[in-house]
């Protein structure tokens, strides 16, 4: 099956006064129709940056400096603004982290839904309103026919995130980029929101890039997982393998330090040190200063994603030509 999203060798740069920072470097992955790709990694790894590049909303001066992004086989990374605008919302939906700040406080939720649908679909005011009510019902808002005229501040956080989900899906995009959709919510509500997202994605056949710190959510929702480190993909593969049996030394550390519930992964219990700043990414493998398995080649050459059997990992231990090979412990969890 042709992937719905195909990111190839994506590079994002931030020109600054003290030189150019490379926020994403050689990021490649694909998402199949209807598939959920989980994206994990420490804070600052470049997860949000990847999402922003895909929807064409990198904050200036950040820019795509290399690689390609293909949506349904069509390049979208170099489209003129107006064409990219028509893709946003219509072909790629976005869900942000904090539902308290993503809705415009001055408009009713109905107006915001109607506005979005009428931007992309050829609907009369009456039809759009009917559909807005339908969407609110679909995301589980009780008494939708009345609530359609309520303002965001009249809803709780969880209910607002349901509205945000309706807004992201209302023009029926085939891909949704969800950046930590539950991080800002009460723990008790997170599971409901994830279940809703999962159900809607399945019903509508929507593919999803799901950024989260919550390994529980990943295990339950994602089909495949990408682990990011310092603006690169460290490992990518089926969820069961990456979570239960990671091959990359960084993934191993990350999975071993899964915090209870949803706390952010700021520091890895198993691995000393911290992720390098963008201005100080070491040559070779970006993980080499912290890696317990590091050897000479890691400090010189940068590893590509290599086959490890079940997953692909950017680690020289999996190159048969390397002088050091992955120890048994890594190969089998």
């Amino acid at each position: 099956m042709a992937p719905i999203l195909d990111v190839r060798d994506l590079r994002v740069e931030f020109p600054t006064r003290r030189g150019t920072l490379t926020a994403l470097d050689g990021v490649s992955f694909a998402i199949e129709p209807g598939e959920v790709l989980g994206v994990v990694g420490e804070s600052g790894a470049g997860k949000s940056m990847t999402g922003a590049a895909i929807i064409g909303l990198l904050e200036p001066p950040g820019r795509i400096a290399g690689g390609q992004i293909l949506l349904n086989g069509r390049r979208i990374d170099n489209l003129p603004h107006e064409q990219m605008r028509r893709i946003r919302g219509r072909e790629i939906g976005a869900i942000f982290q904090d539902p308290l700040t993503t809705l415009n406080p001055l408009y009713t939720v109905g107006d915001q839904l109607i506005e979005t649908m009428q931007t992309h679909l050829d609907l009369s005011g009456g039809e759009a309103r009917q559909r807005a009510i339908g969407w609110l019902e679909m995301v589980g808002i009780p008494a939708a026919a009345q609530r359609v005229d309520s303002y965001p501040h009249e809803f709780s956080g969880g209910m607002r995130q349901r509205v945000v989900i309706a807004l992201a899906l209302c023009a029926e995009p085939k891909l949704v980029v969800a950046d930590e959709p539950t991080t800002a919510l009460d723990v008790s509500i997170q599971a409901q929101i994830i279940a809703l997202l999962k159900r809607l994605a399945r019903e509508k056949g929507t593919a999803m890039m799901l950024v989260t710190h919550d390994m529980g959510v990943i295990a339950e929702t994602a089909d495949r997982v990408a682990v990011m480190y310092a603006g690169r993909i460290a490992e990518i593969g089926p969820v069961r393998e990456v979570v239960k049996d990671p091959r990359h030394p960084y993934s191993t550390g990350l999975m071993a330090s899964i915090p209870p519930l949803d706390r952010r992964v700021e520091h890895l219990a198993q691995i000393d040190g911290a992720m390098p700043r963008l201005s100080a990414i070491p040559p070779g493998c970006a993980f080499n200063p912290r890696c317990p398995h590091v050897f000479d080649r890691c400090r010189v050459e940068r590893p590509e994603l290599l086959e490890t059997g079940a997953t692909r990992a950017a680690c020289w231990l999996y190159d048969p030509a390397s002088e050091k090979q992955a120890p048994e412990a890594l190969r089998h969890g």
Binding site: L57, H120, Y151, V164, L167
Partner: protein, 328 residues
């Protein structure tokens, strides 16, 4: 809604009473109206008659109550200087000031908001930089200097616009308007630009700062992520969210326009209330000064009320009563 208006009006009452007290205190303690009105030669009987005429032999608070009662009916007595009813004097002068302030306010609001939006959206363009630099000059030059410079350029050098007065006015009932004649309109231009310039630059800078702030918010990013066009994002979502603080400041500034009118009216010899006030100050004409004070306070209080109502219209979060009634 109705209850909201009533509560705001009630809040204004103490303010108005305080101002009334101050202007009444001027009567009681500044100068001696009796001496001023009697002139040089008078008998003790004349003096006593005048004192009881003016009610000056009554206790303080009786006098104050009577002052309020009269003020509420627009009755401020006779001008010491011109010996004519103050209400009549103010009634003659008010249209000139109000038309001037109205034009200045429109200029400040329309140009200020437009320029603020432009400089907020295109903050790196050369025009934005130019506007910002010029606006710095606008806020730092005192209005009288601006007025004199404008007169120098447009009246003296170019000879396009008159340097003083209202031009020809047309009488509509008791209201005299300069809007209906060409010379009246030309006469309005320089003074209203002078008067509005400071507020214009202030509003422009405020709108710009608010726009920059709002454009960074998540809901603007989300509006873009939903694929809305620039126009919808900039005007429908961003500008509207800047309005609440802008209304606050603009409201206060409009009050300021009427107060600042004193200077502009003096520079342009504009026959308005400000000029009347200045003339009254130099003649210690207390009744006119007191009336002017009360009137300005009334203007401020009214503007505040309008500002509150506008908030209510713009920002649904303030309509709390409704949200609670509906049950969250």
């Amino acid at each position: 809604m109705f209850a909201f208006i009533v509560s705001r009006v009630l809040q204004a009452v103490p303010v108005m009473l305080a101002v009334a007290l101050i202007s009444f205190a001027m009567f009681a303690y500044v100068g001696d109206p009796v001496a001023i009105m009697l002139g040089q030669d008078f008998t003790e009987a004349q003096r006593a008659a005048l004192v009881s005429d003016l009610g000056l032999d009554q206790p303080f608070f009786v006098q104050f109550l009577r002052f309020i009662g009269n003020a509420a009916q627009g009755e401020f007595g006779l001008s010491y200087r011109l010996s004519r009813p103050v209400a009549e004097l103010i009634g003659e002068r008010a249209p000139a000031t109000l038309e001037l302030a109205f034009c200045a306010a429109i200029i400040a609001l329309v140009a200020g908001v437009a320029m603020g939006v432009y400089t907020g959206l295109y903050r790196n363009s050369w025009l934005s930089r130019l506007l910002l630099t010029v606006s710095l000059i606008g806020v730092s030059l005192p209005p009288f200097l601006v007025g004199i410079l404008l007169i120098l350029v447009f009246s003296v050098w170019l000879g396009w616009l008159p340097s003083f007065g209202r031009g020809e006015v047309v009488q509509l009932g008791w209201w005299s308007t300069g809007f209906l004649t060409w010379s009246g309109i030309k006469a309005l231009i320089l003074p209203s630009v002078t008067l509005g310039l400071f507020q214009l630059t202030l509003i422009m800078r405020l709108v710009r700062a608010e726009m920059l702030e709002v454009l960074r918010t998540d809901y603007i990013k989300f509006a873009r992520a939903r694929g809305l066009g620039n126009r919808a994002v900039h005007f429908g979502h961003a500008l509207r969210n800047t309005l609440v603080p802008v209304i606050t400041i603009a409201g206060l500034q409009l009050g300021g326009i009427i107060a600042f009118a004193i200077v502009t009216e003096t520079v342009f010899q504009w026959p308005g209330m400000g000029l009347l006030f200045i003339q009254s100050v130099s003649a210690a004409d207390i009744p006119v000064m007191a009336a002017y004070l009360v009137l300005i306070a009334l203007v401020f209080v009214t503007i505040n009320l309008v500002v509150d109502l506008l908030y209510y219209a713009v920002d649904p979060r303030l309509r709390i009563g409704r949200a609670v009634a509906r049950g969250r």
